[in-house]
């Protein structure tokens, strides 16, 4: 069931899906969104591929609060794009209302499609507290059905520009991560490079050194390995402090990919999306930092108690 939800409310969060099969519909939908954004006094960002940006610029003209951008500049990786938007919203000195519209790059294989689908879902968690408005355009004539199905599950509303309605297929991010369309990565099938057990915080240092030594045998840049070690450290601290020892670490090293699984023996974590929202001044920030120091970080509860954190870079 869909139900009409009226106009986007200024000052709140929205993340709409615009499905189109030719450029005219896309341009009209974006035009309505941009006009509303400018009328609200907010900043508007229109981003797409080079040819579409040229077309949209011609159709929409210019305005001091209207900015055009290229996907290649905006979308470095799903996780860095997400947190870059969050920082912009959370750390702005003045109240900021941001209207962003365009196409998400998606990549060119199933794995990358799924990574961007998870991005679309997590936008709702990472930016849900801000006056952020997204209108994401998906071309139904060019994209695989799987990608369109994921888009419907990751946008709370569908819009034509003129009309908005709730998306009947929308799933909460925590549920979407369990959807096969999200393809949450699994640890490699190959045997791990290292397995270690920690009993307390004094074991951290030795484990960090083992992980760093083992991880730098791959082809990843030194900075990526260092950040991966810091992210791993935070997940271990989380397990020791908020979960319960023993905390087990398993590390897989592939030529250009590091994967680490950390499990603790505690009671599990109440919210598997911990660390996506911007931290409070005095609140914990270990998982929030860890999520930004590696490419992917998934938290889940184990069937027989305990919490599992899967980290990957590369």
């Amino acid at each position: 069931m869909t139900s009409d939800v009226g106009h986007i409310r200024s000052g709140s969060y929205s993340h709409d899906l615009l499905l189109h099969d030719h450029d005219g519909d896309m341009v009209e939908g974006i035009r309505a969104f941009v006009e509303q954004g400018l009328a609200s006094g907010g900043h508007v960002i229109v981003h797409s591929t080079e040819s579409r940006v040229a077309m949209l610029r011609q159709a929409l003209g210019s305005h001091p609060r209207l900015e055009y951008g290229l996907d290649s500049d905006l979308y470095l990786s799903p996780s860095s794009t997400l947190f870059a938007y969050q920082r912009k919203m959370a750390e702005s000195a003045e109240p900021l209302e941001l209207w962003a519209t365009g196409t998400v790059p998606l990549g060119d294989d199933d794995e990358s499609h799924a990574a961007w689908a998870r991005y679309e879902s997590l936008v709702n968690e990472v930016l849900g507290a801000y006056a952020f408005h997204g209108l994401c355009t998906y071309d139904t004539s060019a994209l695989p059905a799987r990608v369109i199905a994921a888009a419907k599950a990751t946008h709370p509303c569908v819009s034509t520009g003129a009309h908005r309605a709730t998306s009947p297929d929308y799933q909460h991010p925590a549920d979407f991560l369990g959807n096969p369309l999200a393809r949450v990565p699994e640890p490699p099938q190959a045997p791990p490079a290292v397995t270690l057990v920690l009993q307390d915080l004094h074991d951290l240092r030795g484990v960090r050194h083992r992980v760093a030594e083992t991880a730098c045998s791959g082809a990843l840049p030194r900075s990526a390995v260092e950040d991966f070690v810091t992210a791993t450290n935070e997940a271990l601290v989380n397990g020791l402090v908020h979960g319960r020892a023993p905390v087990d670490l398993t590390l897989w090293v592939e030529p250009s990919k590091l994967t680490c699984r950390i499990t603790d023996a505690g009671d599990g974590i109440p919210n598997t999306l911990s660390g996506y929202r911007y931290p409070n001044a005095s609140g914990p920030r270990g998982l929030w930092a860890a999520r930004q120091l590696c490419d992917d970080l998934f938290v889940s509860n184990l069937p027989d108690g305990g919490c599992s954190v899967l980290l990957a870079t590369g």
Binding site: R205, S223, V237, G286
Partner: protein, 271 residues
């Protein structure tokens, strides 16, 4: 290997060794004795009489330091703790005797728990402040051994009375002209120690700009950042500026990710 390779050599001044385990204490005390003997210093050690498992001789034997040679030639002296061994006048006379014998400097160590078996912790704190002055006025380096499990206020006070800085299993602090050097690894295992060391150093600091030199800090995590901000909070709220200098790139990324560069009263120098 110890995480302080290349750093451990510096035991100058009135230094506190904070130990999380007996294993760590024995390893670090052995390294300290070895350095003192190698340097040609007179090494004096105060210990509880008749407490075999805390005896320096057995510790050195286990850690393969030649104690007997050093004792027989008079370079190493092990004293049984008594009321007298904690009086300033007696300590000064011991130091003067050693210097008169021709030793260029005197190294002295003992456990806080040894002192606490003889006097109250409050009386011992007064002795510690005297000792800090002794280290400033004579070529004396003193290593005081404290267990890590102390209440936070006590740990703050212990750090404050040791002007030569803190040695911990992963971390070392030492004073420098413009502030303090923080070396090693600051993580969740030594969060309290880092916070206390910074609180002690900044509360005694009179100028309005405190430089924290991070060139030898190899790792910093979220807990380390928390201790860095909490340890300097009082200094910054009274108008002081903490200047973080020479952070390596991995540490610099963590500082900026956690917004330390935007915290009130902090500047992170560009690398």
């Amino acid at each position: 290997m110890d995480s302080f390779d290349g750093l451990a050599g510096n035991w100058d001044g009135h230094v506190v060794l904070i130990h999380h385990s007996e294993w760590q204490r024995r390893r670090d005390v052995a390294a300290w004795v070895r350095s003192g003997l190698d340097l040609g210093a007179k090494v004096i050690y105060t210990e509880r009489a008749h407490v075999a498992d805390r005896s320096l001789r057995s510790l050195l034997t286990d850690e393969q330091v030649d104690a007997f040679g050093a004792i027989s030639r008079g370079q190493l002296r092990v004293l049984a703790a008594s009321d007298e061994t904690y009086t300033a006048a007696w300590q000064v006379s011991m130091v003067e005797d050693a210097l008169a014998e021709g030793y260029p400097e005197v190294w002295w160590s003992g456990e806080a728990e040894t002192a606490w078996s003889i006097m109250t912790p409050a009386a011992h704190a007064d002795v510690e402040w005297e000792t800090d002055r002794l280290c400033e006025s004579r070529p004396v380096s003193i290593l005081c051994q404290y267990p890590a499990k102390l209440p936070p206020a006590t740990l703050d006070a212990v750090c404050a009375m040791h002007g030569g800085g803190v040695r911990e299993s992963l971390l070392r602090t030492s004073p420098c002209a413009e502030g303090m050097v923080l070396a090693g690894e600051a993580d969740a295992s030594n969060e309290q120690v880092t916070r206390s060391a910074l609180r002690a150093a900044t509360s005694a600091f009179v100028r309005d700009r405190f430089v924290l030199d991070l060139r030898a800090l190899r790792f910093l995590d979220v807990a380390g950042v928390r201790s860095l901000l909490a340890g300097t909070a009082a200094y910054r709220s009274s108008g002081g500026v903490v200047c973080l200098r020479n952070a390596r790139s991995s540490v610099d990324r963590v500082l900026r990710l956690l917004g330390v560069d935007r915290a009130v009263g902090v500047t992170v120098e560009e690398r």
